[in-house]
Structures are given as C-alpha cells and as structure tokens.
C-alpha cells in the first residue's frame, strides 16, 4: 500500500456500507479438538472490518476473541481448526487458502502483535535482523536498503536511538520497548490490517498510553485498519471507532464505541460497563457479572448468555436470539430489545 490516498482522518464514514469492506468474516465457525472430541470455540460469527478503521473486540477471557483473529492470520494452533464459514479478503476466501497464499499476505498485508512481546521475539536474534525479516520475506527492497529501513521503522515506532536498539537482543529491552519493536516489525511493510491482541495488557499504565498513541498514529498516518482485541473497555474507549462484543464464541452486540459506552443494549455489555471502575464509585464494591463464561465442553444455550442474564426468560433457553437493528450501526442479538 502506498501512502498517497490511503491517508484518512479518523471518524469519516468508516462504518459506511457503501464501500466494500477490507475484510468480511462470514459465518465463521472454529472447532477445537479436546480429548478426542470436537467442540465449538467460535460459533458462526459475522463481521466486517472497514479500511482504515480501528475495530475493538471485547469480551472476557475464553470467549473467542483471540482465536477468531488468529484464524484471520492463519495462525491457529494445531488443536483449533476452521470448521466452516469464510474469511473474505479481496474477493478471496482465506479460510481455505493454502500455506503459500497466507505466507504472502502475512507480514505484508496483514500483521499481528501479541500480548507478550518478550516471548514473541526470538531471544537469540538481534532486533534489527528480526525486524528486517518482514521486509526480506516479501522482497520489499534490495538487501542493502534493509538496514536503513529497519532503523527508520524503529524510529517511527518512537524508539530513541534506533541504531543502538537494532543491535540489541530482546532481553535487553523493557516491555514497552519490546512492544514498540513488535509494532515496527508488524508495520514495516505498511499492512492494510494490523491485529493487536491485548498489546498493552502486559505493560505499565503509562507505557500503555504511549503504545495506544503509537497505534493511533500508525492508523492515521498510513490508513492501517486495526483490530484491537481487549478485555478492557476503558482501553477500547481510548482507541476504537467501533466495538464488537463477544461472548462464549458468539458476537452479542456491535456498535460505535460511544454508543456501546453510553447506550449498551445487550445485558452482557451492560454488565461489562458496570464493572469498569470509576471515580464516582470509589470505595464501593465493584459490580460484577455473576457466573462464568461457559467452557467449550459445556452445553450451549441458544442464547449463550441466558444462564447469567438478569432478564432471561424461557424463550432465551429455547430459541436463538434474533439480530436486532437498533439504528446508527448498532446491532445486538437479544429477544428482549
């Protein structure tokens, strides 16, 4: 992707349905092998990622946020596999794509950063070489130019003294610096989509804010769409244009970030928002959602949240909840809306 034309300011018609989305997830179902049996980890979900937007994916641990996005990258671990559905990109279905097709897309058009930058970097290889590999894997430039571009990418990721850092090993850097290195590595080829899987969870709060700013800068400057996975709505609020709320392998609600925070429709989303600590409630007990996310082995109700939902009725245990369009790109799956 070139820089010209791709630069878009945040907030302009990103959720418009007129343009074809960058990525379309259609009825994606992901299975998991466990002790000889197959369970469902992600249950037929649909969503779009538009060019240049920052899309948040929120939900408790184990609800399928990471798995869905690893599937987009073709990086599912051995026990997980795509059971059905499509991942449409440029008219091509990546769900069934072969290894070489994925290899060409990964690092060049799609990229990913992870929760643990330390283990995500090879401990025995210098930073400069690891960052440069993304370029050489896609023959982006002659070998003689790689070093210069690596230094530039590290500088772009707000790392001071990039030449020195290029010559260091991962263990010599701080957590925040490592995540910046990961970002430099993931964006050096100017991908169209960057998947950030809880990139700030392992970092200090101050460093967290810097990394979020960096991601936002990359989004603005290069028009890189970002899927931002987090369990933390407060972090989502700082960076995302639009949010998908996932629960037990299903999407329960989708809306622009402001709508989710001010006017949540689904009971699960309401519970998540209630459990964000605020200054007004300082000292009081933090409300939480009773119960737990069902594990993959447990039997699923037609509405996955029925067991924990305060308004659930008999129908919630008998029929799948319908998709309700609440206007302004706000949709939710619930019988009582």
């Amino acid at each position: 992707m070139t820089d010209t034309g791709a630069v878009r300011s945040a907030g302009t018609d990103k959720t418009a349905d007129t343009a074809r989305p960058l990525l379309e997830i259609r009825n994606l179902t992901i299975g998991i092998h466990e002790g000889g049996a197959v369970y469902t980890a992600v249950d037929g979900i649909d969503y779009d990622v538009h060019e240049g937007e920052i899309l948040g994916v929120v939900g408790e641990s184990g609800c399928g946020k990471t798995v869905t996005n690893l599937a987009i990258m073709g990086l599912l671990p051995e026990v997980l596999f795509i059971q059905g559905g499509q991942i449409l990109y440029n008219g091509q279905d990546l769900a069934g794509a072969d290894e070489e097709t994925r290899r060409k897309i990964n690092g060049d058009e799609f990229s990913m950063i992870y929760q643990e930058p330390l283990t995500s970097l090879n401990p025995l290889i210098k930073i400069g070489k690891q960052v440069g590999e993304t370029l050489s894997a896609h023959d982006k430039c002659p070998a003689s130019e790689i070093e210069g571009r690596v230094i530039q990418a590290l500088a772009d990721a707000d790392l001071a003294e990039p030449e020195k850092i290029a010559d260091m090993y991962p263990h010599q850097l701080s957590g925040g610096m490592r995540q910046r290195v990961m970002i430099a590595m993931a964006t050096i080829c100017r991908p169209k989509l960057l998947i950030a899987d809880e990139p700030t969870t392992a970092l200090d709060v101050t460093v967290q804010a810097q990394v979020l700013r960096l991601l936002k800068k990359i989004n603005r400057k290069y028009g890189t769409a970002i899927i931002f996975i987090s369990h933390d709505l407060a972090v989502i609020n700082q960076i995302c244009d639009r949010v998908i709320v996932m629960y037990a392998g299903k999407i329960v609600e989708t809306a622009p970030t402001r709508t989710i925070l001010t006017n949540p429709a689904h009971e699960y989303t309401k519970g998540l928002i209630r459990s964000i600590p605020t200054m007004e409630r300082k000292g009081a007990d933090l409300p939480c959602i009773p119960g737990h996310v069902p594990s993959t082995e447990e039997k699923r109700e037609p509405c996955p949240f029925a067991d924990r939902c305060p308004v659930a009725d008999r129908i919630c245990h008998e029929q799948e909840p319908p998709l309700k369009d609440l206007g302004d790109a706000h949709t939710a799956f619930c019988h009582y809306l």
Partner: protein, 315 residues
Amino acid sequence: MRYIIKKIIILILTMLLISLFTFFAFHIIPGDPARLILGTEASEEKVALLRSQLGTDLPLSTQYTRWIGGFVRGNFGNSIRYSMPVSDLMKGRIEVTVLLGLMVIVLVLAIGIPMGVFAAGKKNTIIEQIINFFTMLGISFPGFFLSILFIWIFGLILHLFTPGRYVSYENSWPEFWRFMFFPALAIAVPEIAILTKYVRTAVLDELSEDYVRTAHGKGISFYAILYGHVLKNAIVAIIPLIGMMIGSIFSGSIIVEQVFAIPGIGRLLISSVTGRDFPLTQTLVMYVALVIVVTNFIVDILIQVIDPRIRLQGK
C-alpha cells in the same frame, strides 16, 4: 571473564577429585601388581623386594602425593608391566584415539542434527515413523556389536577396508581415514540415534514457542523458520547433551578399538587394568577425564557465545 575464571577453578577441582577417586579405586580393588608380575610361586622376600622397588609398599597417601606431584610436572611414572615410562607408551596411541574420537564427533553432529531437524519437520508423517524406528534401533545396538557387523558387511563382503590391517596415518592419511571410518561409524551410530531424538524433541518444543508464531505472522516460510529461528534455540538446549556424549564416545572407543585392532589407548587401558599396571591405568583415566572435562568447559563457553542471555548473567 570472571565466569571463565570461575569455570577454570571448577575444572581444576574436578580433575583433582577425579585423580583422588581413580587412585584410591585402583588401590582398593584386589590384586597386587608385584604378585601378578612374579606369579604365585614367588617367595615372599622377592615379592617384598619388588614392592619396595615399585613403591607399592609405601602408605597410600604418600603414593598419591608422589604420583600427583609427578603428574602435574608431566612425569607420569613408569609402567609396571612394560618397565618403561608411561609417556613413551602413550605416544603414538593418544593421537590415534583422539583422531578416532574427533571423527566420531564430526559424524554425530553432521548426521544427528540435520536428521533431528528433518524428523521434527516431518511430524505426523510416515517418514517420522521410519526415522523413529531407526533411532530406536540405533540406540539399542551396542557399539561392539555394530563393529562386528561392520567388519562382516563392509570388510568381508563389500571389501571397503581390510579387517585387522590398521594403516598408520604416518604412512598414508587417506588409507588411515578409510580404515578408521568404520570403527568411527560403529561408535557414532548409537550417539547419532540419541542426538536425533533429542534434536527432534528440542525442535518440536521450540516450534510451539510464541516467536515461531510471530515468524509465521511475518510471512517467513516454514523451512526458513526451522533453520533460521528454531535451530539456534534448539541447539542451545542440546549443547549440554553434546558435552555429555564426549564421555560415552571415549568409553565406546575403548571396546571398538579392541574389535578393530586399532592401536589406540583403548587397548592399552584394558591391558593395564588386567595387569594392575597402576601408573599406566591412572594416567589413562586421568587423560580421558581431562578430555571430557575440557570439552564440557568448551561447551559452556560455546553456550555463552550463542545465547546472549547467559552472557549477560556472567557479567
């Protein structure tokens, strides 16, 4: 640097301890060298005389300090059986054993590592099963049995070398290597099998690491990840094993030298033990121990060079 000095001190202490163990072990086992030389018919006076000549009538502690004192000055004493300096006996034989050992190490590394990586790359295929079968077979065969097998197959049937006719490297290097290749292979096969298994496991462990996922996410091909990212990490994990293998390679060569009639220190060691030739035995054991301890020392340094994390701790 401090790390290296610390290691050298440990090395010296280890050698000292080994010398103590060897010395006392050989003096505890029954068998009097004077008796063995003179035979059971000899008179007590004659035996006593020989004992005092050999110095075996002195207290053990005096014998030890005398021996170790000479040892560090390069004087290994005289062989009881051959009545000549131990150093003269070892000359020409040590080189043969060292060359044999080196050849084994080269074979083990050159075959074991690529095969292990290859086996890991072929996980869940029939090829993996075949490799597993052969590594199991390789581990199960003792070196001396393989020696006999190789003499029969490569010597008697295929005529690739002449069994029993050792060619000294002083006469012809190519002929020397040609003869030595098969004993080296006989020692190497079980070690190759073990190394293959370990490398395979180490590589598979590394393949499940996060950095491998990152590399896939960057669009690097599987084989580039295997050889460019995983192998280096896997080798750090198996280097200590390679250090330990040196020991078993040397003990393996003792028997195999016998079978192939190679004039190395292996044969000398066996005859010196049966003849209670203490000065010779002790020197040989010390020598083998030194080789093992020094190679492990080198291995420690090598890990430092490869793994920057350990380098940092040493500073």
